[in-house]
Symmetry: C2
Subunit: 342 residues, 2 copies
DNA sequence: TAACCATACCCAAACGTTTGGGACAATCGT
DNA sequence: ACGATTGTCCCAAACGTTTGGGTATGGTTA
């Protein structure tokens, strides 16, 4: 009685009886290949079957289908943290594309902890997923190697690692774009809030930046950080203490950048005037901050959809190559042209 | 071949053969009630079965189980938008509690559009969910009434509507807390950025605020808005144009509040000095903003976990009553004591 | 007209569980 | 010493699909 609702107790058998046919015929008509359906029933019967299915509101039972076919049409997605808007947006893309491809998806947090990653992967496998999308890959790829060894199909998104198929933003280029912008503005004493060292995103963004500056003959101060506001705040405090004459800071993440803005202000400096600040991802907030934030726009939603499509082709047995999507620099008031002050 | 990995081809039959028993016995031992297992096998055999299961790494096949029992242990969750950090955090709570209760959950966006809500609910039902958690309820409850009519078990979270079971924050109280704070500070010319009129959250927060002011004999300017930064920006622009002598604005959402901060600054006023600003939800960002934001903390994660637990009790056939969790005002620099300026 | 071939179907097994109802012993009460 | 009870287990059906075989029916072909 509790929770018993007759959502759809119309099965193949219901239709078969209504149409005076065998369930196998109905099955083939309803879900066979066009070739198979023509061998299974005459055009007229096929139409009749479809008509009954329509009228009765037939919904195939996914559990029966999965049991029989050993395919679940289910995809597990792992992210460091869903309340990170960046990952949530990527997942929105995954979910979208999944719905379009008839694949159900579900998402789990791993907090970038290998133990959680393993546990969540096991959980996903126990639900018999057809494949995984991992948004929490670490550069060392040890968990990934384990998964690969088990023969589980998967793709990476947002971060890459080893030579596993992935969909990422060209983070190195993104870092370079910011560096070139800073160089244009004449900043010579600059710092980078580089994010976590285990994530390819932070590493590539900062090394793209650092390399560009190095080519210009300028060394850059770098410090790792968490990817959130607090992390950015602490990292910027450190940078400013190390080099009080800093005129620009690149944070590899918008949230970190917001923390940087706070730290700059706390140090008695004017963000955007005394210290230019740039972020990454161009989240909704960047444009709406009291001090609009210069940021590198990365195609988050698209990364999600492409990742799912990449996984689909992996599931088809193909061997697709990784994709690297283009970033775009969006310049706002947090990086005003440098004026010689006082 | 493609995507064929032997995750766990060990079934009840495997164990039964290994132990020289019947699958039914193994089944009862492994997943029967303590009472049932004792009637099914001797303590010794039971131990042996468990031992084999352990050693062979038995994982029950969820599809077979669901097919047989007509229960999927699957919960569908609807939210307006997952990339809204507030909803993402609530969902994290749901997912957490789901994992603890052996329930799989999946989440979908509806963008607060009834057509999407209906479509996503149908999708969830086609996946044979045991129940739904709706984080996108509208006050008119028309979609909810439809779902209820179909006999689908569900609970609401974040927003309430009609008399359906829900887990919410006491938003009215939250609004009152902000109003009392503003009154303490001596603000008499104030405005509210009230959010969407179809969401109980925005409505209750603003009416808690407005009622409190009204009791003090003061009328408040109110304007609806989207729940994001842009929405807050536009709403605040409107408020400031209507009443240039405004000294405080309450936005029913942190993101909207950030937009308000921007609009205040654009109007040539100093946020926190000339115009106090308060938000709602106390997201990570509030504390880390360049101008730390006064905000009402709501227990988002807890709301999610409680919602799932509420649904569990609904599924058990109980008739649990709604829960309203307590908010807490967190005062920061965006609402400094009023100083008579100039 | 016999052999043949499509055409349009149906039969039955299988996927891995759960679950109501036995079956067969050993043990018990009297 | 006998029927009744209990303890321990097995049998078989069912959930809703898919899929590798059939098997009639009718029409061609030689």
């Amino acid at each position: 009685m509790p929770g018993r609702y007759k959502s759809s107790s119309v099965t193949l058998k219901t239709i078969a009886q209504a149409a005076g046919l065998d369930v196998s015929t109905v099955s083939r008509v309803l879900s066979g290949s066009p070739d198979e359906v023509s061998r299974a029933a005459s055009p007229a019967t096929a139409a009749a079957v479809r008509d009954w299915a329509q009228r009765l509101g037939y919904q195939p039972n996914p559990h029966a289908k999965s049991l029989r076919t050993a395919r679940s049409n289910l995809i597990g997605v792992l992210v460091p943290r869903l309340s990170d808007m960046v990952l949530a947006t990527i997942y929105e893309g995954v979910e979208d594309a999944g719905a379009r491809n008839g694949l159900a998806t579900f998402v789990m947090n791993t907090y970038d902890r290998p133990a959680e990653q393993r546990a969540r992967i096991d959980l996903a496998l126990s639900r018999h997923v057809d494949g995984l999308i991992l948004g929490d890959a670490h550069r060392d790829a040890v968990v990934l190697d384990e998964v690969a060894a088990r023969g589980v199909p998967f793709v990476l998104v947002s971060r890459y690692a080893s030579k596993y198929p992935s969909v990422t933003c060209d983070d190195y280029l993104g870092g370079r774009l910011v560096a070139e912008h800073f160089l244009d503005l004449g900043h010579v004493k600059v710092g980078v809030v580089a994010g976590e060292p285990f994530a390819s995103t932070g590493v590539d963004r900062s090394s793209g930046f650092v390399d560009t500056y190095r080519k210009a003959g300028i060394e850059v101060l770098t410090v790792n950080s968490a990817f959130d506001a607090r992390g950015g705040h602490e990292a910027a405090e450190y940078l400013i203490k190390q080099a009080p004459n800093l005129t620009a800071i690149f944070a590899v993440n918008d949230f970190a950048a917001i923390g940087v803005l706070g730290a700059v202000r706390d140090a008695g400096l004017r963000p955007g005037r005394d210290v230019a600040v740039a972020g990454y991802n161009d989240t909704q907030l960047a444009a709406e901050l009291p001090l609009p934030l210069t940021s590198v726009r990365s195609p988050l939603h698209t990364m999600g959809t492409r990742a799912l499509e990449l996984l689909v082709s992996v599931l088809r047995g193909q061997n697709p190559s990784s994709e690297r999507l283009a970033p775009e620099l969006v310049i706002r008031e947090s990086t005003l042209p440098l004026v010689r002050n006082s």
